[in-house]
Each structure stands twice: as C-alpha cells, then as structure tokens.
C-alpha cells in the first residue's frame, strides 16, 4: 500500500529521529556527540512528550550506551542508539560484542572525522575504522535516504536469517544538519512496516533459559565467527526482499548501489553519501556538454556487493573512486573494495583512487570535474591522488 505522507523541511538528524519515532523502539541508550547529538536530542523530546513508549537510558559514555543496547537486545527488546567519531571509537569494544552476540541493533552514524587533530566535521574515518566489526553498513546521500533506510535496516537486522546490527550512515553536518525536503510517510503505514521484533532467543524467556556472553576459547570461537560470515552472506538476498517491501510504500528504489547515467558512460565516478549529490550535478552538466560520464553511488558497503559492482562497471573505460577516508599505508577503503571487485573481470577498466573531503573539506564541482576529465583523457595510474588538498602554500 502506497503511503502519501507529507513533505516537510528537516535536517538529516531530525528525519532519522522521525524514523525512530515511528519505529517506537523499546530501548534507546545514547550519549551525545557532535554531530549526532540532535538525533537523540530530538528523539528524547518525543519520549518526553509521550509520543513514544521508549525507555530512554541516559548513560555516562558510548561504551555504556552500546552495552545497555546489547543487554536490552539480548532480553528481546528492540534497542537503538546513535553515535559517530570519538563516540563510536569509545564504544568500539561493545560494537564487536553486538555483532558477535547477534544483536539486531540499528545505529545511525553521523559520519565525523576521527581525532587527532580534533575535528567535528565529516569524513568516513569513524565508520570505516569499524568496517570489519561484523556490522552491516548502509551509506546515505540525503536525509530522505537516511530516513527510509532506518526502516530497511531494522527489518534487515531482525530477519531470522540475519540477526546482525546495522549502521545507517549519513554525512555529519552536510546531511545531519542541512535542511532538506523530506517526505515523512504516514505513521500508521510505517508502524505497520516496522512491526514488532520477534526475538529467536531472549534472556526473559523463562521456558527456554539462556546464558549470554559466555567465554569461547580455542574450541568454539572460530565456529561462532564462521556463523557471522554466513549471516553476512545471506544479507544481499534479504536486503532486496525488504527493499521491495519498502518500495511498495515509498515508490523508491533501494539497490545495493545507484547507477546514474551509467549505460553508455565511459568515465565513471564511484563514491558514497553526500558526495554523490555533487557528482550527480556535475554528471548532468558534463552530459550537456556531450561527455559520457556516469555515477555509481554505493549504498551497501558491508556486506560489499562485489559481483554486482563488477557488472555495473564492466562497460566503463576508466573509473575514479572517491574516498572520504584514508587507510594509511593501504588502499583507501572504497577504492580497495572496487579494486577487489574488478579482479575476476577479463577486461578491466582503468582505475584511479582519489581521496577528498577529510575533516569536512568541501568537495567542489571543480574537483569532481577534474576527476572526470582525468578519466576521459586516460590519466589513470596507481598513484594516490587527492582532491582539494593544498600541495603548496597559496
């Protein structure tokens, strides 16, 4: 059933809080950190005004926030939190516990740089640093996408075949604090979509008592980790099922990635989150100039859709990958994955890494244009390139 909803001017954080209001989770335990704060601040107002039944747990740190969520989740509750940057770093230990114990916790992340130097603005170094902790990661370009993907994440996380936590990432300040038009769908429809969590096991189930968090040493730890990999491998199928269900409400598409003017594109930029908006604008302008350029916007980063990405890039001549974080001493995270995806292809496109936007540095149209022009003229190499970085004093 399609839901009309209403279009309202909202920040990304407010839109995410609206999704949480409609979901009405049993427990939200969180600690404020810029630029995530207004998600939980807004949600707390909803709770205070009696618009949700959620038990808000005011904890003393993110380590405790995730710990409270894990406890609640293992007790069968629908638990949520939100964080970024230093907060994500502080909860790191329990982030691994959440996925290891198979807690379907949904956590919005307003991407922000990891210190030092201290910086409150956007890059992806926080969630990229946590990419191997066993969480599903969905990156969102707009407030609308973030709002809708909170619902997708919830149903994906709680699916009996999955039982894994999900990070729903938006760009700090750029998306979290900028006001955009967001269509908030009808409460009744979204509440029905969210439904109730049906836990497989619960600490509060007296008929089937369980122990949680017991030690596993050389004898069983390996097997438990193998199960997590199995669940991750089942994500793509369930993701598309949930996406189809959500699409019936919103009319929007939720592929692993978005292909924009890719059909005959010779030069392609692969990127994520808000940078895709800038890139799309440049694609439109350059298309008007007759240049065959296109955009591949990755949404699902964990698990990474290697085969599908390889197919999508199979016709491109040259591909530029724009990363908003670095992996010091290694390939930048997204570039590394694209490089992996292309390995099995017989006819590989040229591939070039660009890092941009660290610590909130703006990605300008001229930067995107520069990357496209490099791809159109075959300037592809294995060197690491940087967009918007000063090589010398101005």
């Amino acid at each position: 059933m399609a839901a009309k909803g209403k279009t309202v001017p909202l920040t990304g954080n407010y839109a995410i809080a609206e999704a949480m209001r409609q979901i009405n989770p049993d427990v939200v335990a969180a600690y404020p950190i810029t630029p995530q704060t207004s998600i939980v601040e807004t949600f707390s107002k909803f709770a205070n005004d009696g618009r949700v039944d959620t038990e808000i747990v005011r904890v003393e740190s993110e380590h405790s926030a995730m710990s409270a969520c894990v406890g609640a989740s293992m007790a069968g509750a629908r638990a949520m939190t939100a964080t970024c940057s230093a907060g994500l770093a502080l909860m790191y230990e329990i982030v691994g516990v959440a996925s290891g114990l198979r807690c379907p916790i949904v956590m919005p992340v307003a991407n922000r740089a990891i210190s030092a130097p201290i910086n409150i603005h956007c890059d992806h170094s926080d969630s990229m640093g946590a990419r191997d902790l066993g969480w599903i990661q969905i990156y969102n370009e707009t407030a609308q996408e973030a709002y809708e993907n909170v619902f997708l994440a919830l149903k994906l996380a709680e699916h009996p075949d999955i039982q894994l936590p999900v990070m729903v990432c938006e760009d700090g300040f750029i998306t979290s604090h900028c006001v955009q038009n967001v269509r908030i769908y009808d409460d009744a429809v979204m509440k029905k979509f969210a439904g109730e969590r049906k836990p497989i096991h619960s600490l509060l189930d007296l008929k089937e008592p369980i122990s949680v968090g017991a030690i596993e040493l050389q004898d069983y730890f390996f097997e438990t980790k193998r199960q997590q990999q199995d669940a991750m491998e089942k994500v793509p199928k369930v993701y598309l099922e949930v996406a189809e269900e959500l699409s019936k409400i919103t009319g929007n598409k939720y592929g692993f990635f978005e292909e924009y003017k890719m059909k005959d594109a010779e030069a392609v930029i692969v990127t994520m989150s808000s940078a895709a908006g800038t890139t799309r604008a440049v694609v439109d302008k350059m298309r008007n100039e007759g240049k065959k350029v296109g955009l591949l916007k990755i949404r699902l980063f964990r698990p990474f859709p290697y085969e599908e990405v390889a197919r999508a890039l199979s016709k491109a001549k040259n591909v530029a990958v724009l990363d908003r974080s670095m992996s010091f001493g290694a390939h930048a995270p997204l570039y590394g994955e694209i490089r992996n995806a292309l390995y099995e292809m017989e006819k590989k496109p040229g591939l070039q890494s660009y890092v941009f936007g660290l610590g909130g540095r703006d990605l300008l149209e001229s930067h995107v244009r520069q990357a496209f022009n490099d791809m159109l003229t075959g300037k592809v190499s294995r060197e690491k390139r940087y967009l918007g970085l000063r090589e010398a004093s101005e």
Partner: protein, 108 residues
C-alpha cells in the same frame, strides 16, 4: 614430570560444527558449567589431614568453585573434577590441616 598427560577430559568431548551450534555463542541449557570440568587446570592438589581437621567448614565457605561439599554437618572430600588447586582452602584453614601437593605426584 609427565605434564603432557593432562588435561584429558576435554579432549574426549565430541565437538560440534558451526552449523550445529546456537548463534552468538549463547548457551541454551541451564547448568552447563557443570560440563566444564575445571579440575584439569590444577597444578596443586589439596590434601587434607583428617586427623587434624576440626570440621569448621572454613574451606567449604571460601572455596571459589564450591568444590568442597558439606552435608549433614560434615565436610566431605574435595571434588577433584572442579578443584582448580588455588590453595585458598589451605590458606584459610585455622589448624593448617590442608597441604597443597604437586598434582604430578598423583598422575603417574
């Protein structure tokens, strides 16, 4: 020294594969800790001189593994399936009737 001879209990347990165990390492039955016989960790064994024991139950109360039983007003023998050999019983015994002896002496 024939230390390589123990532990043996765990080696005989048939282990399950990743497809057969509950997800997230949860334990789905009560009192499963009983299966984990920690006595195999023991390097020293408490040996009680019954002629000196005054049956005060200090060892019973202080044993962190509840490995010393107390029934019908009498202390029983140390349960060696679970005694880790920590020596707390010997330490708290007011008449010093518990002696910690090297486990290898008993495993020949």
């Amino acid at each position: 020294m024939k230390a390589e001879k123990f532990p043996t209990e765990k080696q005989t347990v048939k282990k399950q594969g990743w497809k057969d165990i509950p997800e997230g390492g949860i334990i789905t039955r009560a009192a499963s800790a009983k299966m984990n016989k920690t006595g195999s960790w023991r390097a020293f064994r408490p040996v009680i001189d019954e002629s000196k024991c005054i049956n005060c139950a200090m060892c019973v109360l202080n044993c962190p593994d509840n490995a010393i039983p107390f029934r019908d007003g009498k202390r029983g023998p140390v349960n060696l399936d679970y005694c880790k050999g920590c020596g707390i019983c010997a330490s708290v015994c007011p008449v010093k009737c518990i002696k910690m002896e090297e486990e290898t002496k008993f495993r020949k």
